[in-house]
Symmetry: C2
Subunit: 145 residues, 2 copies
Amino acid sequence: MKISTKGRYALRVMIDLAQHDNGEFIALKDIADRQQVTVKYLEQIVSALNKAGMLRSMRGNSGGHRLARPADQYRVGEILRVMEGDLSPVDCVGDPPAACPMQEGCATVEFWRGLGRVVNQYVDSYTLQDLADQDLTERVLSYSI
Amino acid sequence: MKISTKGRYALRVMIDLAQHDNGEFIALKDIADRQQVTVKYLEQIVSALNKAGMLRSMRGNSGGHRLARPADQYRVGEILRVMEGDLSPVDCVGDPPAACPMQEGCATVEFWRGLGRVVNQYVDSYTLQDLADQDLTERVLSYSI
DNA sequence: TTTATATCATACTTTTTACGTAGGAAAAAG
DNA sequence: CTTTTTCCTACGTAAAAAGTATGATATAAA
């Protein structure tokens, strides 16, 4: 029940880009220095974020990356799901749902589905801007199962 | 962000014991047949549940296992945490919390702590009896970060 | 008291996934 | 045309997850 390092780093990269956003492209080297991760490892993560349309990238000298949209237009959940897939706790309630031999009359599937829903609602209740600003003031959600 | 098979099986074992509770000890063989898992694998899981005080076990002929308390006295979260540990999404907000070189001024730690809280509140909002009865009627929690 | 049936304890194997590294191609700017 | 950067893909290693195997120990019943 853990978020992978790729998911964690992806979020930190996006926060870093939000906090250092000045309209210019920011090189991975700079992010790597600040976040204490190798450029090579970040390349993989940023490549996935790029393909998912999360950022704009430019090659070559003075190239780099910047956010594709304003930071308050990203739900944190969107970013995490790029690296982690749907955040479902078990495969049978994932997307696509995995087949399960015990499906009929399974006493747990709806419970798991509800957990996935709760997790996704939580991570979607914050924007990238919230984290970049460290704005974690109390917020209340209600959810139903 | 997945629950392990041990966590899933542990829950199914407990539900099975709740549904077939007749005061007698129930042999792993019976559970294994119903749940389509090997006895040998279940032994490991049940051993952990037993050590955690989740059930009463009896060796020997006509031995087996039964719940240590009424099914409505188990929070589902208790059962899951036996197999999964605390259900925190990252180690730095776990119990015990792992050291992190980037601690000071980390923009994500409180976000992760909140996610762990939400997950634990959800799994603790159901009792074993709820799942055994398939009683997943809507319930609403509110949580704060 | 022997036998059959269970749990209990531990170690081992296998498979999968996570994590990180490496090498080089392609593009852009100066 | 050189430097700097992203881009692409493959590879390696280590850790964790998943499942097996062996044998000891306890209990009830024959």
